[in-house]
């Protein structure tokens, strides 16, 4: 039992960005006696070849590729069967799984099947003094816990967008086709429909994000934010209350329960700055807050602040930005 195996997902088509984030985690561990990096690559169809290529270009030496028509968006049960088969064969000491929609179901279930140690939602992994250390946020982002994992195998799930995609590091290695038998009729869940609710560049990958909160007062407020996002070339997200109220899709929620984002710029509008929200944006390079309450906690994490009513500030900002852009 040695080595690190990343579960690389091409379930949605191309290789997911979080799969490469897992490779970054694996590379942080490999030098410390945990062994080389392998990948279980899951998907269906011709794009798998390109996905395998990308993994190799980032330092994955051995790729076990599973190509099956049921390995598509959201099909956790099928992905679990394929992953378990590869993991039993490769016998890695550490399995890295992205804590995305499928991974947060698959990771714990795989750990249960392997009798493995389990830590979820890691934001950082390292080996220090011979111990595998995993860091994760706890208590609504108020604290950071460090867990030491002594047992192998260990399954770790890694929060999407907690780590950067690593620099390319070409490696020569093997790609092996692993045939897997999956009986669709025997699966407990089947995805009937997949619905996308985000712009071309999704919230998690946008370089500029405008977030709206309860202070927007209703769904109309988000129309103004949408305009701001458009002129800036960014995406719109929200705090929890607007998602709970149905003003915006739940998949737009940013924070502990929602997405973690690390854009170059995050503009929080009508958001008080509860720790559970800030937990999802603390990796943003520049944080701007627009809030009419000068004592709102968001100002203690923001770099630039405007105290004011968003209904006056945001339209003025849209106009000024257009002016600077020469529009």
């Amino acid at each position: 039992m040695a080595g690190i195996c990343v579960v690389a997902s091409a379930l949605d088509g191309a290789l997911s960005r979080s799969s490469l984030e897992l490779v970054a985690a694996a590379r942080a561990l490999e030098g410390s006696g945990e062994g080389g990096i392998a990948a279980a690559l899951l998907g269906s169809g011709p794009h798998l070849a390109e996905a395998a290529d990308t993994l190799q270009r980032h330092g994955v030496a051995a790729i076990y590729r599973c190509d099956h028509p049921l390995l598509t968006s959201g099909q956790t049960d099928a992905a679990l069967i394929a992953t378990e088969q590869i993991v039993r064969r490769v016998q890695p000491g550490i399995v890295l799984v992205s804590a995305d929609t499928v991974g947060r179901e698959l990771g714990p279930r795989l750990a249960a099947r392997m009798g493995a140690a389990l830590v979820t939602e890691a934001v950082d992994v390292a080996v220090e003094g011979g111990a595998l250390l995993v860091r994760r946020q706890v208590y609504g982002g108020r604290a950071m816990a460090t867990l030491a994992v002594a047992k192998r195998p260990a399954v770790l799930t890694v929060k999407p967008r907690a780590l950067d995609v690593p620099e390319p590091r070409p490696s020569t290695g093997t790609v092996e086709e692993v045939p897997v038998a999956i009986d669709g009729a025997a699966l407990g869940t089947r995805v009937r429909e997949v619905r996308r609710e985000q712009a071309e560049v999704g919230l998690e990958d946008a370089q500029i994000v405008v977030g709206g909160g309860r202070g927007l007062g209703g769904p109309e407020g988000f129309k103004v934010l949408q305009q701001l996002a458009e002129v800036l070339g960014g995406a719109v997200g929200s705090s929890r209350p607007p998602a709970d109220a149905g003003w915006v899709p739940i998949s737009w929620q940013i924070g502990q329960t929602g997405k973690t984002i690390r854009p170059a710029l995050y503009i929080a509008v009508g958001i008080s700055g509860a720790t559970q929200h800030v937990a999802g944006v603390s990796g943003a390079r520049t944080i701007v807050a627009i809030n009419r309450d000068p004592d709102a906690p968001i100002f203690s994490v923001a770099h630039l602040g405007i105290v004011g009513d968003y209904r006056e500030v945001v339209p003025a900002l849209i106009a000024k930005v257009k002016e600077l852009q020469g529009r």
Partner: protein
């Protein structure tokens, strides 16, 4: 339909930051003197169970692992909202247990409850946010699993579940028995009990089982290899620069700053 809803009691997660402290001995949050509530999304899970009961009839059991001595309110609220009965697995150290350890206790209790078609959980504990109990329960009980469900409805002898996904949502057909974890949604906002419900709740059965009496399932993910080394409260260092003036001036300075940062 027989439904078990797993409810965890936690320190109110929305308490002001100044009331938050870590106990260096347990490496967990100090609970003393802090209000305890049902973990946020567990109330949404209970609401989903009660809506299924309202529509098609169901027997709803509220299940919690916790220190029985400190649990009164959570159980009473669950019964007042409309659960038919409650089971408390009494474990004095429950607040310190990690998800892997709790899942085995919950699985053992659910086996002892016996009849279940659907087990509902919150999508994450408000305090440790591990998101492990639902998938682990599914494995231990041999049940189907969907996490982060916004909506659940009966369909073709099974369930149709809307799962919140990375960039939208999935509609998933689910076979029972199933473990489904619930995310908040406009359709599952927890109901408030009326006075008569609170009175009626006093007559509903509550069983308390010592954790040590349960026959734990063998196998499963292993918590023994994981040790909490430290839990630290990071110091924030950012200082906010306020942009002054009337709204137009504020907007103009912000636009210029964004240009200087090459963001415009």
């Amino acid at each position: 339909m027989d439904i078990v809803v797993c409810l965890k009691q936690v320190v109110d997660p929305e308490l002001p930051v100044r009331d938050f402290a870590i106990d260096p001995a347990t490496k967990r949050q100090v609970r003393e003197g802090r209000p305890l509530v049902i973990s946020t999304y567990d109330e949404n899970a209970l609401e989903v169970a009660l809506q299924l009961k309202d529509r098609g009839g169901a027997q709803v059991t509220a299940l919690t692992v916790g220190p029985a001595a400190a649990l009164g309110d959570a159980v009473r609220l669950a019964l007042a909202m409309g659960a038919d009965q409650a089971v408390v697995v009494d474990h004095p150290q429950a607040p310190d247990l990690l998800g892997v350890e709790k899942a085995r206790l919950l699985a053992a209790a659910i086996r002892r409850i016996g009849a279940y078609d659907l087990i509902l959980c919150g999508c994450e504990s408000a305090d440790w946010v591990e998101r492990v109990v639902p998938p682990l329960l599914a494995e231990m009980l041999g049940a189907s699993c969907v996490t982060f469900a916004a909506r659940v409805q009966p369909a073709d002898g099974g369930l149709l579940v809307r799962r919140v996904a990375d960039d939208g949502f999935h509609e998933v057909d689910v076979r029972m028995p199933a473990v489904v974890s619930i995310a908040s949604d406009e359709a599952n906002r927890p109901r408030l009990p009326k006075v008569k419900d609170i009175v009626a709740a006093k007559r509903k059965p509550v069983q308390s089982w010592p954790a040590g009496d349960l026959a734990l399932p063998s196998g499963g993910a292993d918590g023994s290899g994981v040790e909490v080394r430290e839990v630290v409260v990071p110091q924030r260092t950012a200082t906010c620069e306020f942009l002054d003036g009337d709204p137009v001036e504020q907007a103009a300075s912000l636009a210029r700053r964004l240009r200087d940062l090459k963001l415009v």
